[in-house]
């Protein structure tokens, strides 16, 4: 009984002729052998043609019409150290179908598709917005699979070098917080908000006083280094002191949502690069914001900021909740290390803010960076890896996106 479920595989159509591969250095001998077995009447020319054979001298191939018994003789001639190397049936091939459509037809088709897209798009966007439910947790924690992770950052020290921290914030009561100010005349207490927001994302509570949950590494030890003033300004000297403090304290991760604009064609800082290499060799990974100088809505992407443009600092770009690159997120334009390495949630990010405001929703690569830092803490806890190996793991486990790697590097960071 025929098995009607077996798919039929179409045999290639053949012409009844055969392709005979002739040895390159013995074409004449081969043609002679062929003539004897198939009784060809050949003349020698570039493309010699008789009624039943074509010899392609340059290619060393003969196309021969042969009956089955002649084929058998040819096969015998092909055995051993013969001038005939191979014989196979000639197949029928067809040109790929070409569309022969008029310009009017194509323009009409395009207009119809554009019309359809315009009609459907608002509905789709509404559907996407409704699909992100932030009642329990922020979209950023959902998109990075933090909610599904068993890791919590326990035993990992995360330094956030920023504007300090609101040490009175109710969501952090009972947490181990070590802090130090590198701004003369200012305490660690955050008079800006930026630092409290970043620490909230990287290390915020699993159960904040008010939902949604917004923090990644809820059991990590927090190191709040104030290297930016309450006015948001800082200097290399203070930032380098903060890095020194964090490494000397044994922090596995340093999160830096700071930087300054670079020009197209400019190179990275040798000082920060050397420091970042020394940090990696001591098991400390430095993560920094790629910067917000781009204005993609007007077609202007800007290069990655200093110091995120150092080859040994993990540069973070910003994504929105539809996994699109944020309009402000900088691009890997400059050579030697100025690329974006990874991307994180950075548009409409909800996190902690100094009291009494308590919570705030803002955007920036500053917000994407602590997502990566917090997730790095989860991977550090789960894998035991540090420094460059931890970097490699973050890149390896990132989810690839249908976006340019100059914008998002390896893709969106993912929790273990």
């Amino acid at each position: 009984m025929a098995d009607h479920l077996t798919p039929t595989i179409a045999e290639p159509e053949t012409t009844g002729r055969y392709l005979v591969l002739l040895r390159e250095d013995a074409v004449e001998t081969a043609v002679q052998a062929l003539s004897e077995s198939v009784s060809l009447n050949l003349c020698s020319s570039e493309i010699a043609q008789s009624h039943n054979a074509v010899i392609l001298n340059q290619l060393g191939v003969a196309v021969v019409e042969a009956a089955p018994e002649q084929l058998a003789t040819m096969r015998i001639s092909a055995e051993g150290n013969s001038a005939i190397l191979a014989i196979e049936p000639e197949q029928i091939v067809y040109a790929l179908p070409q569309l022969n459509l008029s310009a009017d037809y194509l323009i009409g088709y395009r207009d119809a598709i554009n019309h359809l897209v315009e009609k459907l798009l608002p509905t789709q966007q509404t559907a996407l917005l409704q699909a992100i439910d932030e009642a329990e947790s922020t979209w950023g924690l959902q998109a990075t699979k933090v909610l599904n992770s068993c890791a919590s950052g326990k035993g990992i020290k995360v330094a956030v070098l920023d504007t300090g921290f609101d040490l009175t914030h109710p969501d952090f009561i009972g947490r181990t917080v070590t802090s130090k100010s590198f701004i003369s005349g200012e305490e660690v207490q955050d008079g800006n908000g930026h630092g409290t927001h970043c620490i909230g994302t990287a290390c915020g509570s699993r159960r904040p006083t008010r939902l949604p949950r917004y923090g990644v590494a809820y059991n990590a030890e927090i190191y709040a280094g104030k290297v930016l003033s309450n006015q948001g300004s800082g200097s290399d000297s203070g930032i380098l002191q903060g890095i020194e403090w964090a490494i000397a304290s044994g922090c596995e991760i340093i999160s830096m949502s700071l930087g300054s604009r670079t020009q197209v064609g400019s190179t990275y800082s040798q000082v920060y690069e050397t420091v970042a290499q020394r940090a990696l060799s001591r098991g400390t990974l430095i993560v920094a914001a790629a910067g917000n100088d781009s204005r993609r809505d007007t077609g202007i992407p800007s290069p990655v900021s200093r110091p995120a443009n150092c080859p040994s600092i993990l540069a973070v770009g910003a994504l929105d909740s539809d996994s699109n690159i944020a309009y402000f997120s900088n691009r890997g334009i400059n050579p030697d290390g100025g690329q974006v390495d990874i991307a994180g949630p950075g548009v409409n990010v909800y996190s902690s803010w100094p009291m009494p405001t308590q919570y705030q929703t803002i955007s920036g690569t500053s917000m994407a960076t602590p997502h990566v830092a917090g997730i790095a803490a989860l991977h550090a806890e789960e894998s035991g890896l540090r420094g460059q190996e931890l970097w490699n793991l973050l890149v390896k486990t990132a989810r690839r996106l249908a976006l340019a790697s100059e914008d998002v590097g390896a893709g969106i960071v993912q929790a273990p």
Binding site: T163, N192, G193, H194, H197, L228, G232, S233, G234, S235, D236, S237, I239, L240, Q241, I243, E244, I247, A248, S257, L258, G259, S260, S269, Q270, V271, T274, V275, R278, A279, R282, N292, R306, F328, I362, S363, G364, S366, M367
Partner: protein, 79 residues
């Protein structure tokens, strides 16, 4: 003459002799503020004309002018 902030990296071979390198930098005109031994960096200030002479001090790998960073105003929606 203008005063500039500088960051100096000490080469790997001199990371154990940071104090000697700092003394050399001071002798070359730098006012040393911080000696950061873990990362091998010395920060401070000097006259802009003295930067090149700091590069010649034994144990110095690189000398860079310090830069400032500035966040947007804290009420900006873009950070």
């Amino acid at each position: 003459m203008s005063r500039v902030n500088v960051s100096v990296t000490v080469d790997d071979a001199h990371q154990e002799q940071m104090m000697e390198v700092a003394a050399g930098l001071q002798a070359a005109g730098m006012q040393v503020e911080q000696t950061l031994e873990t990362i091998g960096v010395i920060t401070g200030s000097c006259e802009s004309s003295q930067i090149s002479s700091l590069s010649g001090v034994a144990g110095v790998a690189t000398v860079e002018r310090g830069q400032e960073v500035q966040l947007p105003p804290s009420d900006s929606p873009l950070q």
